[in-house]
């Protein structure tokens, strides 16, 4: 029988004022391995608050420490709120992406199926608003939203992408900033004295969300080509050209994320323009019913495929 003890390490995390002694003793006796872990309180310093089931012992506090207990509470409240908003924002991102995927299945579906997908997406969007986004709005009530905007900005952008995509499929126009903000402002109609809570959508978030939309429109357009909905293809090309003009009108763009998205948008726009160009050429050569077959093999995300 061989016994040997391996003491791993003594880890002290002074921030939490607690010590972990992790030791593993391998007892090779009938192949039993025992790992022991215990916590040790460092004398003179407060026990880690996360473990305390009773309120911490404040009898040895200096006046400075009493003061800092108050600061600690305020700091934690702010950090916890930030964390909660961030986590909710991640959920918004996931749900929004799912909605976008479902909408991308539309090309090629029959009219009634298409209607179902749109309705179901509308319901999902409303659900995201009423649960997740409303939750963020409640966290932001009475706070300066700019303090927390980095926590929710990516979720909001993804949501705007999904919302505007759905809106476009219904109306063939781009949703406005005011309408987006309207959907993220929650106040009862009958309680006019209560200030409505909302998730602040800055112009920047709106523009970034719209920029992402261009990528989805490009993919949708290419799918339309391979399923035969050529009219939609031209419509999308038109809208994208207008948006491109809009971006150009901004001149020098100070935000680097916007700059990057512009680059991606440009390549999306070129793909769509080439698709329309090819369609136009083929229309003159081939009867309409066969055009779908000609383009069926095209893959929207393949960089190397040329149409003509």
């Amino acid at each position: 029988m061989i016994h040997y003890l391996i003491a791993k390490s003594i880890q002290v995390n002074p921030h939490k004022a607690r010590g972990n002694i992790l030791s593993s003793s391998h007892i090779f006796s009938n192949s039993i391995i025992i790992v022991v872990m215990s916590e040790v309180r460092i004398s003179g310093v407060e026990q880690g608050r996360r473990n305390a089931k009773e309120p911490p012992d404040t009898s040895h506090d200096t006046p400075l420490m009493t003061l800092f207990r108050g600061y600690s509470k305020a700091l934690d409240e702010k950090n916890d709120k930030y964390e909660r908003i961030y986590k909710t924002s991640r959920d918004v991102t996931v749900r929004s992406k799912r909605i976008i995927f479902s909408l991308q299945r539309i090309p090629g579906l029959a009219e009634d199926e298409k209607g179902n997908v749109l309705t179901s997406a509308a319901n999902d969007l409303r659900d995201v608003e009423q649960t997740l986004l409303k939750h963020i709005a409640m966290e932001l009530r009475d706070e300066d939203p700019h303090q927390f905007v980095n926590a929710y900005t990516s979720g909001i952008q993804e949501y705007i992408e999904a919302l505007s995509f759905h809106f476009f499929l219904l109306t063939e126009t781009i949703i406005s900033h005011n309408e987006v903000q309207g959907r993220l402002t929650f106040g009862s109609q009958d309680q006019t004295d209560i200030v409505p809570i909302s998730v602040l959508v800055q112009a920047k978030e709106y523009i970034l969300g719209i920029a992402d939309l261009t990528g989805e429109l490009m993919r949708f357009c290419i799918k339309c080509v391979s399923t035969g909905d050529f009219e939609m293809c031209f419509k999308i090309c038109d809208v994208l050209k207008k948006m491109h003009g809009g971006f150009l009108s901004l001149g020098y763009i100070p935000a680097k994320e916007l700059y990057h998205k512009m680059m991606v948008f440009r390549s999306s726009l070129h793909k769509v323009e080439e698709a329309c160009y090819s369609l136009q050429l083929r229309k003159s050569e081939v009867p309409a019913e066969m055009l779908g077959d000609v383009f069926a093999m095209y893959d929207a995300d393949d960089q190397n495929v040329a149409f003509v």
Binding site: H15, A17, L64, F68, I175, S176, G245, F247
Partner: protein
């Protein structure tokens, strides 16, 4: 809805924000000048003559500090109401430096750490966002931590200047600061600054050790810690 309208609205938003930001930065530059002037005055405390003349240094600093509330008021006028945190990163560093300077002066005069409200008041700020332009709690905490480096330096220079009691006083002060800060759960930058505090405390304890070893500990200084 016309797309181009959305973009022109965004364009004018960006322009407006750039204007506000530049105006904020101009106001911050004035605050910066004062903050560096105070730092220059405080630097004298590390000289041998300075250590004997802390009173003068502190009163010179007070003269400069007196100008700060007006400068913050000028800054406040340029930040649109309700957008404190939108432009906060433009003046956060300066505020922390001013907080650090204020804490250092109070330590030199009274050997204590001024609380959040006191520092805010001397800078002409309030402590709660709802009441107006305020001193953000994290700015206060970070600014306060920045003095630990200066104090450990002062401990070393005090010894060089022949003042053997100050290192003990500094050690006690830093220990109290450390136990207070240990009650927090800091994140990111605050956590880095907290690590610097530990390092400064360690250096100061080494200074005290070197003094004690050579029997240079003054008789009337407290021995426990």
């Amino acid at each position: 809805m016309d797309i181009t309208e959305a973009f022109s609205t965004y364009g004018s938003c960006v322009e407006r924000e750039t204007e506000v930001r530049e105006s904020v930065q101009a106001a911050v530059r004035d605050l910066e000048k004062t903050s560096y002037t105070i730092s220059t005055i405080l630097e004298k405390m590390h000289n041998a003559e300075g250590i004997q003349n802390l009173q003068t240094i502190c009163s010179d600093c007070h003269a400069e500090l007196a100008r700060v509330p007006a400068l913050y008021e000028a800054l406040q006028e340029r930040v649109p109401f309700g957008e404190f945190y939108r432009y906060h990163h433009n003046f956060r560093g300066t505020t922390q430096r001013l907080v650090g300077a204020t804490c250092l002066i109070v330590y030199l005069e009274e050997n204590r750490l001024p609380p959040h409200e006191e520092v805010a008041k001397s800078l002409g700020l309030c402590t709660q966002r709802e009441k107006g332009f305020h001193l953000d709690l994290e700015d206060y905490l970070q600014g306060t931590l920045s003095i630990s480096h200066e104090l450990s330096r002062l401990a070393i220079n005090s010894v060089s200047a022949g003042d053997y009691s100050r290192p003990f006083q500094i050690r006690q002060f830093l220990r109290d600061l450390h136990s207070a800060y240990s009650l927090l759960f800091p994140k990111n930058e605050l956590r880095k600054k907290f690590d610097e505090l530990k390092y400064s405390l360690k250096k100061t304890e080494e200074v005290v050790y070197n003094l004690s070893l050579r029997g240079l500990k003054p008789q009337d200084t407290e021995t426990s810690g």
